[in-house]
Symmetry: C2
Subunit: 87 residues, 2 copies
Amino acid sequence: MFVILVYDTAAERNPKVLKTCRKYLHWTQRSVFQGELSAAQYRALMGALTTIINPAHDSIVTYTAREPGLVRSATLGLELGGPGEIL
Amino acid sequence: MFVILVYDTAAERNPKVLKTCRKYLHWTQRSVFQGELSAAQYRALMGALTTIINPAHDSIVTYTAREPGLVRSATLGLELGGPGEIL
């Protein structure tokens, strides 16, 4: 499945959130990752993030589509993302 | 169409970006909006944002799907968004 993940987490937890998201997805932009995952990988990512975030203060939203072809992406301005991008 | 918009813009331009996005979409989370737009509304929003951002420094990414039903959203932690949410 195609996954877009956006996170709004406390600064002290951002490094762990970033590290975990990077294992599964490509960084797109500040606070945004995207990529293709199997259902099992998606569950593993959600499980790992659940152990990192504080659910009373942090928020992670995912958007998933069965296939990448169902979602079109477009960029205005800088094209920031890419698998090798350094934050 | 269903639209997810994420922005990474310079602080001094954020108020204008926010104001423009709010005219068309619902705020979801820090830097993220979503909603349903016609093709004409989407073009109008992109046109308005083009006049606001500095393409050498700012980045706005949109993900669009023909129908909202093609994209599932899920939240870990806080449910921040909502049409009435105040930033």
